[in-house]
């Protein structure tokens, strides 16, 4: 049975007083399950990657416990989030996929203006829909990173059952995905927690809502569309 989280397969009222609903409860659950398990996986994985980090594994009970925790959190990372696409909150999850795979000219314009924004300046770019170019790239790195790190991780986990040539390639694939996702996560966390303009987005991942001001300032195309949709649905 589907756990329909704030969806019930109907368009909810998105704009409520001075706030705009940005993420459904299901989307927020997926985000945080993925984020927390990512860091557990990163921490325990680094214990295997290098003897520099290995001593830190004593806080978990040693490297062998860390390796077991790596496998357990991998299940959350993949299975829990994966299930959200099918029985948890499918509609909104697939809509996110649809959004971020639709990379447009306006997204490129955002991306080229983005470095300036990142360092506290103001770049010029067209009005953005729900996800701007930078967010789409972050999402795409997460999606592809997750797929590749999972496939390679499965091969590494059950190495004796796979051809040796495949196992040998799984190692660099696992590391490459890890480095890419970690670099993206560092920038992502900065924008969510520390960046003066964009940190207002944080509440969207906590209670689901962002302020109208934020929505208008950063995602006016999205905001205007929601306003139109809401007008229509109230009329009918």
């Amino acid at each position: 049975m589907a756990i329909k989280m704030e969806t019930r397969n109907q368009v909810p009222i998105r704009i409520v007083e001075d706030k705009v609903l940005r993420f459904s409860k299901g989307e927020r659950i997926s985000h945080w399950v993925h984020a927390i398990s990512f860091f557990v996986l990163l921490f325990t994985g680094l214990g295997v990657l290098s003897t520099f980090f290995q001593p830190a594994m004593t806080i978990l009970g040693g490297i062998h416990v860390a390796r077991v925790i790596h496998r357990i959190s991998a299940l959350f990372f993949v299975v829990v989030v994966g299930l959200m696409f099918f029985i948890g909150n499918p509609r909104y999850h697939w809509r996110w996929i649809k959004f971020v795979f639709n990379f447009t000219k306006s997204d490129w314009q955002h991306v080229s203006a983005f470095p300036k924004e990142f360092f506290g300046g103001h770049g010029a770019y067209p009005e953005q829909e729900k996800y701007n170019g930078g967010e789409k790239i972050n999402s795409l790195i997460t999606i592809f990173g997750t797929v590749f790190i999972t496939l390679s991780g499965i091969v590494m986990w059950w190495a004796p059952f796979f051809p040796v040539g495949l196992v040998r390639w799984a190692y660099p694939v696992h590391d490459l995905s890890m480095f890419l996702m970690t670099a993206a996560a560092i920038g992502h966390i900065y924008l969510g927690l520390l960046h003066p303009d964009s940190k207002a987005a944080m509440s969207g991942m906590l209670n689901g809502y962002v302020s109208k001001e934020f929505a208008r300032a950063h995602h006016s195309a999205w905001y205007n569309r929601l306003k139109e949709e809401q007008k229509k649905s109230i009329k009918s």
């Binding site: 390796r67 990142f118 360092f119 953005q128 190692y171 490459l176 900065y190 520390l194």
Partner: protein, 274 residues
């Protein structure tokens, strides 16, 4: 101390398997249940408790059978893939040319198992350690020959200084080639030159050995490209964040922002409208 060598002269080997028994004896490795693999071969592969075994290949040519026998064990490469792959700096190479696993450091990740071009190390999933031939380093460092060499009756195994034995091996090869034209040395150049070096009677692939063993390309890419470049990317992202925080501090963005967002809608036109 100079580099040592064990010459395995397969032209002298009688396939008696005493070497594998001596290995078990000295290294206190328990016997395992064996099974007939081919006519004489009773061991298919290395195990955590079998570090050397005999392979027997029956080669038929012109109605004649040639019995190709080879003692298999770790090659102790000068350029060991296992050492490069090891996650825990547990594998080292000694000046004698021995490649050794330190079981205090080994965590049993299996990276050496998967990357050895000869499939030598084996993983004990319970002990979570990788095992292979030690070359009897504990004997050699006490001026004894490796157990297998010590026991070899037909003199197919010889132990000595690498330079001296290699010269000898080449002389012997010229001799053997008179009857076995395809005979060759295996391990002189392979993997940077191996400590356990063979005089084979035929080309390596006939014995099931890789003709051109190398460090896997994936391993080089992993350790020498993705690791340093990935580290730089993560470091670069972290540096960009630190610079970003300071840039915003210097521009006073942390103060002005609070007033802008929330109270005064007219000034919040970032993100395109300006």
């Amino acid at each position: 101390m100079t580099r040592k060598m064990v010459l395995i002269d397969t032209s002298k080997c009688t396939g008696c398997k005493a070497c594998s028994v001596a290995c078990k004896e000295w290294n206190e490795l328990p016997a395992e249940k064996t099974k007939l693999v081919t006519s004489y071969q009773t061991q298919k592969d290395f195990t955590t408790k079998t570090w050397t075994y005999m392979t027997f290949i029956e080669k038929y040519e012109n109605q004649k059978m040639d019995f190709l026998m080879r003692k298999a064990q770790c090659f102790h490469c000068a350029n060991p893939a296992c050492m490069k792959a090891c996650s825990s700096q547990a594998i080292t190479k000694t000046v004698l040319g021995y490649v050794l696993i330190d079981h205090d450091k080994c965590i049993g990740c299996g990276y050496c198992v998967e990357n050895c071009p000869f499939g030598v190390p084996k993983l004990d999933p319970i002990k979570k350690k990788s095992y292979k031939c030690t070359g009897c380093i504990d004997r050699v460092e006490n001026d004894l020959k490796p157990a297998c060499v010590h026991t070899c009756q037909p003199g197919a195994l010889q132990f000595g200084e690498r330079d001296v034995l290699l010269t000898q091996a080449k002389k012997r090869l010229a001799e053997v080639q008179k009857t076995h034209p395809k005979a060759q040395l295996y391990g002189e150049k392979e993997m940077g030159g191996t400590t356990f070096l063979y005089l084979l009677l035929d080309s390596p692939d006939v014995y099931g050995l890789p003709v051109n063993p190398t460090i896997p390309l994936s391993l080089t890419l992993w350790k020498d490209v993705i690791r340093p470049v990935g580290g730089l990317a993560v470091g670069g992202a972290a540096a960009a964040v630190v610079i970003g925080v300071f840039a915003n501090l210097l521009k006073g963005n942390y103060h002005s922002n609070k007033e802008k967002v929330g109270n005064d809608p007219s000034s919040i036109n970032k993100g395109g409208k300006d």
